[in-house]
């Protein structure tokens, strides 16, 4: 097929523009169709070239104008890069025109002409190789933008337009001076010839090339000097700001990329510095924003800053520069255009009013897709871009840049996720009527972002090893979300079962334990879902997202797969947790900690990959670059998920407020993901004889203190689910401590605790969740005497707390016994004593839980409460069976585990004689103990039955009440602040010191943000002053460094 020469883009567009001018006012629709035709033509041309060049049917082609060779005339180059950029620009141009159909119609042919010329100018900027020509068409673009800004009526638009004109006027003149002097010193205006004459060598040319680059950088709105841009984003018509942030920014970025050829090494360094400062600065200021469009302005400036930094940091030579650039660019491009369009549809200024989106689930889904794409979550292109960027930069040893990027993107996550949280949870108002023409572009861009996400992932190295099956399952569930809950529930159970079927056979024992916990546990916690009537929209996709993430986590071989699975799991769990009634705040704090942790892990992986080739997970054992620091980073990253001391404040809220069948999923299963990470890390650290003794010693202390703080926190809780959440923190403290002992017994303890915690926490949370569902209240002092109404759940909770407290016959004791031996053999006596003390405290809140809910006086309004639904009891009794088996025959699991661990921890293993476990210190025979206690209990029961005559059942008020008559059940049930004495004694340990620290940190960041954003005083002239002073300052720094 013959390729249309790119010059026709200019010819056709201008022809159409002039013709529309001719049509004048009357023929609005004709000129609009002409506009769409021209834009379609442009898209086809660039699309055709992109296809041709990508599949290299044809190679890059120079287009000469005026019949002469380049130095004497202007030439256009259509290479692969240009084709990609022009296609992106034209697509958003076409869809933008469709989106602004009504706007453009009202304004008449004038605005349509300006819009068409803007798109044409962007094409020429990208294609043209002549300096002055680029300057001219940059000017055409800026004047066209100034024209389009006024499309929006009102004083804001006009003043923003004026500030825009002022700024671009100055920038244009600076560039003109640069161009003229470049011509004076190098003798040519054509870019390729200028580069051949190496402008850096001659002093004059150096300064003029600096001026040109400075102009382009200012065009890309660097941090202190971009007040004018923010006003434009805020006040212009959303369609136009979409154009600005996606099309214009992409073209300008490409121009900067073209010009960097003539910039010397030190200027590139300064460009990356400017980019980083912009990225971190504008995201920091974005935190305090409440106006949606202004916040989007900050975010797009931040993203463009990041892209500028990439152009500066990553040497264009190495292969994956293009991948990183395209990844993050497409991420920003699709998401920003989409968000601005949705802003146009929603028309709400304050971000709190965006919950209006809840009336239109598809629009809400698209909104969340774009927000998550911006924050760099997995399936989207910017995730791969950011991964490749961090890996590339850490390979070059630029760790400072990586840290800056991660800090900046963390700030961005803060305000974007808060916004997403508002839109999901706040009260929905009335959504203004959505026109079809506004809806199509948003949907197309939604699909586009998923498609590019897939393509970019295939392009990243090791990207093709990613298994996409779980995401396909989630997609199916999303599509089928209108079905009633029980169909979807069975579907997701089937899917989890299928994952389990794929993963479990042939898995090595260590991973098998986690696989069983994640997947079988997943099935069990999904079963209560059958009880729910109605649709339960949005629950099953997020549940499958979490379980899919967990499945991927297990089968991950290389770091990229691991990190991909980690983020998917975090995403899924976020959407699950936020479903609770007041869980918006808690889900937000959960997300911040997880994202912070994820970035630490990313930094850790970056440091691991230094000096190593490939990404396989067993690289963790050959870390060359600061091994202890890398290991510490990864450990802290995983510990945010296991809620260790200092990183635990999100857990009580997140698990306490979650829905009744979500909290078992999250606390019994999800916390184990962090443990899984730690296990992999410690195995890779070299098992027994590793050189990280200091690190694991501190981890041990952290584990011990977490156990103490967690259990103490639980004792004084009045809210049943919060009590269980705190107890999870305590139990996770145990697990962390056990694993950091780094001996076979230690690890056996760790695994026993993990399995036990999974079983009994699932039981406890399921039954308490069911009770909360039945009684409608979380507070324990409002419950009481439910044993008569819910005997089965009483038995389940009883077995749960017996295992939790580690009382002999049941499997909890196996953990305690192994723990004792491990601690004494390792020699960590004091931590062992603290953990034992925490263990006894565990017994306190176990009694409080079972007493205030089941025993004591039955309240009036609970007199005809029914037993927990069957679907809640079934998983509990399966788990009880599990506990019984594990307590009767612990060697079923511990023996294979022991052999598996022998490799990493050869010294003093656990020897098994039949069912009797012999360690160096003592011995323990679970089965005999079980039998002895069982028979003894039965004998004594018979003895009591024999001796006592026929015992007469009495009602609840026949109690020894000092001769008085008990008034009402509420007054005769003591459970509020039942450990008052204990609180007086040890209450000081529970003072919220750590939450205080985190509050202080957030306030500090917010106040800095608030203080620095004062520089945008709104005065156009001061913006111009910022601009010029920015040029002078950068010039002085640049010149002084040469």
């Amino acid at each position: 097929m013959d390729f249309i020469s790119p010059i026709n883009v200019v010819a056709v567009s201008l022809g159409a523009a002039f013709f529309m001018g001719l049509l004048g006012k009357k023929a609005q629709t004709v000129s609009y169709i002409l506009l769409l035709g021209a834009l379609l033509f442009n898209t086809i041309v660039s699309g055709q070239w992109l296809y041709g060049l990508a599949t290299n049917i044809i190679d890059a082609q120079q287009v000469y104008t005026a019949g002469f060779r380049p130095p004497f005339s202007i030439n256009l180059l259509m290479g692969l890069d240009e084709a990609v950029i022009t296609t992106l620009v034209n697509i958003v141009g076409l869809l933008g025109a469709i989106y602004m159909a009504s706007g453009l119609h009202k304004k008449g042919s004038g605005s349509q002409v300006v819009y068409l010329v803007l798109i044409m100018s962007l094409n020429v900027i990208v294609l043209s190789r002549d300096l002055f020509n680029i300057f001219v068409f940059l000017e055409v673009g800026s004047i066209a933008t100034a024209g389009l800004i006024i499309m929006q009526k009102g004083i804001n638009a006009v003043s923003a337009g004026f500030k825009y004109m002022l700024a671009t006027g100055i920038i244009a003149s600076i560039m003109l001076i640069g161009v003229i002097f470049i011509y004076r010193f190098t003798g040519t205006l054509n870019l390729d010839f200028v580069m051949q004459s190496h402008p850096v060598l001659k002093q004059g040319a150096l300064i003029s090339s600096f001026l040109i680059l400075m102009a382009i950088l200012l065009e890309l709105k660097p941090f202190p000097a971009n007040g004018w841009a923010l006003d434009v984003y805020e006040s212009a018509h959303p369609g136009i700001s979409a154009m600005l942030s996606s099309a214009v920014a992409t073209a300008n970025l490409f121009v900067l990329y073209k010009f960097t050829g003539m910039a010397g090494e030190s200027l590139m360094y300064y460009i990356s510095l400017i980019g980083l400062v912009t990225f971190v600065g504008s995201n920091l200021l974005g935190i305090n924003q409440t106006n949606a469009r202004r916040m989007l302005g900050y975010s797009s400036i931040g993203q463009i800053g990041l892209l500028v930094a990439i152009i500066g940091l990553v040497p264009h030579s190495n292969a994956n520069f293009k991948l990183i650039f395209i990844g993050i660019l497409t991420g920003h491009y699709f998401a920003k255009a989409g968000l601005f369009w949705i802003a146009g549809i929603v028309k709400a200024q304050n971000i709190k009013e965006w919950s209006v989106l809840r009336n239109r689930p598809v629009l809400l889904f698209l909104f969340l897709t774009f927000v998550l794409a911006l924050t760099g979550f997995p399936p989207f292109p910017s995730f791969w871009g950011k991964w490749q960027l961090v890996m590339g930069l850490s390979q070059q040893g630029q760790i400072a840049a990586v840290i800056a990027i991660l800090v900046g993107s963390f700030f961005e996550v803060v305000y974007l996720l808060r916004w997403a949280g508002y839109s999901i949870k706040l009260e929905p108002g009335k959504l203004p009527e959505v026109k079809l023409s506004q809806f199509i572009p948003v949907i197309l861009f939604g699909l586009g972002i998923y498609a590019t996400g897939y393509f970019v992932s295939q392009a990243t190295n090791f990207g093709d090893t990613i298994n996409y099956i779980p995401l396909v399952v989630v997609a199916i569930l999303l599509v089928v979300d209108f079905l009633p809950a029980y169909i979807k529930n069975s579907l997701s159970i089937l899917a989890t079962g299928w994952f389990a079927y794929l993963l479990i056979p042939g898995q090595d024992t260590l991973k098998l334990v986690f696989t069983v916990i994640f997947l079988v546990g997943g099935i069990l916690t999904l079963i209560p879902g059958f009880h729910v009537k109605g649709k339960r929209a949005g629950f099953y996709p997020s549940a499958m997202l979490m379980f899919g993430g967990l499945a991927l986590l297990i089968e991950a071989e290389n770091m990229l797969q691991f990190f991909f699975a980690w983020e998917i799991m975090t995403l899924g769990s976020y959407f699950l947790i936020i479903r609770g009634k007041e869980s918006m705040v808690h889900a937000f704090s959960y997300m911040l900690f997880s994202v912070g942790g994820a970035y630490l892990i990313l930094l850790g992986f970056g440091m691991v990959s230094v000096g190593n080739t490939g990404l396989s997970l067993n690289l963790l054992s050959q870390i060359k670059f600061y091994p202890v620091l890398a290991m510490a980073l990864l450990a802290v990253g995983f510990m945010t998920k296991t809620a260790s001391l200092g990183l635990h404040i999100w857990l009580p809220g997140a698990h306490g407020e979650a829905e009744s069948d979500v909290s078992p999923m999250v606390s019994a299963i999800l916390l184990k993901a962090g443990v899984f990470g730690l296990v992999l890390l410690m195995l890779a650290a070299g098992g027994e004889y590793n050189n990280y003794q200091g690190l694991f010693y501190t981890l041990g202390w952290i584990g011990a203190l977490t156990a103490l703080v967690g259990n103490l926190g639980a004792v004084f809780q009045e809210d049943a689910k919060r009590l269980l959440a705190y107890s999870s923190i305590g139990q996770l403290g145990y697990i962390l401590f056990a694993f950091s002992i780094m001996s076979q017994l230690g690890w056996l303890t760790g695994f026993t605790y993990t399995i036990n915690h999974f079983m009994f926490k699932a039981i406890l949370f399921l039954s308490v969740g069911g009770i909360v569902m039945r009684l409608g209240t979380h507070n324990m002092y409002e419950m009481g005497g439910l044993i008569k109404k819910m005997p089965f759940s009483f038995i389940a909770v009883l077995i749960g707390i017996i295992t939790l407290a580690g009382i002999p016959p049941l499997s909890g004791f196996s953990g305690k016994w192994l723990f004792y031996n491990a601690v004494i053999m390792k020699g960590w006596y004091f931590q062992g004593a603290i953990i034992f003390f925490a263990g006894t405290i565990a017994f306190l809140y176990c009694f409080k839980l079972i007493y205030s809910i089941f025993l004591g006086q039955l309240k009036d309004n609970h007199r005809n409460v029914k037993e927990l639904p069957f679907w809640y009891l079934l998983p509990q009794y399966i788990l009880i069976l599990g506990i019984m088996v594990f307590s009767a025959k612990p060697d079923l699991i511990l023996k294979p585990l022991g052999t598996a661990l022998a490799a990493a921890f050869p010294s003093n293993p656990l020897i098994w004689e039949g069912t009797k476990a012999l360690s160096q210190l003592g011995y323990w025979d679970a089965t005999t103990i079980m039998i002895v206690i069982g028979t003894m209990f039965v004998i004594l029961l018979i003895w009591l039955m024999l001796m006592s005559r026929k015992a007469q059942n009495v009602k609840q008020f026949n109690i020894v009440y000092a001769g008085e008559r008990p008034e009402r059940p509420e007054l005769t049930h003591v459970s509020h602040n039942i450990y008052a004495g204990y609180n007086k004694a040890l209450g000081f340990l529970v003072a919220p010191g750590i939450t205080g620290f985190w509050n202080y940190a957030t306030n500090l960041v917010e106040s800095i943000g608030n203080f620095t954003r004062r520089i945008y005083s709104g005065n156009g002239q001061s913006y111009a002053i910022h601009l010029v002073s920015y040029i002078v300052v950068v010039f002085i720094i640049y010149i002084s460094s040469i």
């Binding site: 010059i7 200019v10 010819a11 201008l14 022809g15 523009a17 002039f18 013709f19 529309m20 001018g21 001719l22 004048g24 287009v63 000469y64 104008t65 005026a66 019949g67 002469f68 130095p71 004497f72 005339s73 202007i74 008449g108 004038g110 605005s111 002409v113 300006v114 010329v117 044409m120 020429v124 043209s128 002549d130 002055f132 020509n133 001219v136 000017e139 055409v140 004047i143 066209a144 100034a146 024209g147 006024i150 001076i177 002097f181 011509y183 010193f185 003798g187 205006l189 002093q203 004059g204 003029s208 001026l211 002053i1025 010029v1028 002073s1029 040029i1031 002078v1032 010039f1035 002085i1036 010149i1039």
Partner: protein, 233 residues
């Protein structure tokens, strides 16, 4: 006060930049290689005595196209930006302009128009060209507007002239691809005798089109400003 002091400081900084450029400057005695090529075989390749015109129209034709679009843009923006609903409310009585302007305008307007047309017609021969000629024509219109404020410029014709000449310009460019070497190549017409009116290929046509376009656009802009002022009075 501090603000002004700060501004002076920045200006001094910028002056420093310019000074650093100035040190390197040093006027040269010989043309740059690019310029020497234009000088020596400009006439042969393009056939226009006025080298500046040949560079502006053919060698760097795309720039000029950009030029024309800028003007077209500004005219379009100002027209729909300052569009004032002419509800026909009673205009305030115009101030009658002085005697001198009235008589002078009657005499000068045609002369200025002819001069403008002359300038852009043989733009390739004598100094000047499309833009300069267009500007001169625009002055003629200004003079007219100054003379009697009530002069009602017919927007329809102006817009028509504008877009027709723009389209023609693009058409010539496209013809350049079909017939001659590249976009906007002027060899679609015979170069003709050097120095004659109809020589140097399509340059005279392009430049006259540009002249017409610029003239009409500038007057369009000015008349728009005038209309808005009219309501003010």
């Amino acid at each position: 006060m501090i603000r002004n002091f700060f501004i002076i400081l920045i200006i001094a900084g910028l002056a420093g930049v310019f000074v650093s450029l100035f040190w390197e400057f040093g006027a040269s005695d010989t043309l740059t290689p690019l310029a020497t090529h234009y000088a020596n075989n400009g006439a042969a390749e393009v056939g226009a005595p006025n080298l500046v015109t040949s560079i502006v129209v053919t060698y760097r034709g795309l720039d000029t196209l950009g030029e024309v679009t800028i003007l077209f843009l500004v005219a379009a923006i100002i027209s729909f930006f300052l569009k004032v609903e002419k509800k026909g409310q009673k205009m305030a009585p115009p101030r009658v302009s002085s005697e001198i302007i009235l008589t002078a305008s009657k005499l000068l307007v045609p002369v200025v128009l002819v001069l403008g047309i002359y300038v852009f017609v043989n733009g390739h021969l004598t100094p000047g060209g499309g833009f300069q000629g267009g500007a001169i024509i625009a002055t003629a219109f200004v003079l007219l507007l100054m003379a009697n404020p009530r002069f009602e410029l017919n927007h329809r014709i102006i817009a028509a002239v504008e877009s027709v000449s723009g389209m023609a310009f693009v058409l010539v460019g496209v013809l350049g691809i079909l017939l001659a070497g590249g976009f906007l190549d002027n060899k679609i017409l015979p170069l003709g005798h050097f120095g004659k009116l109809f020589s140097a290929g399509a340059i005279p046509i392009i430049y006259s089109l540009v002249g017409l376009k610029v003239g009409s656009e500038l007057s369009n802009i000015l008349s728009n400003f005038q209309d808005v002022q009219k309501d003010e009075l």
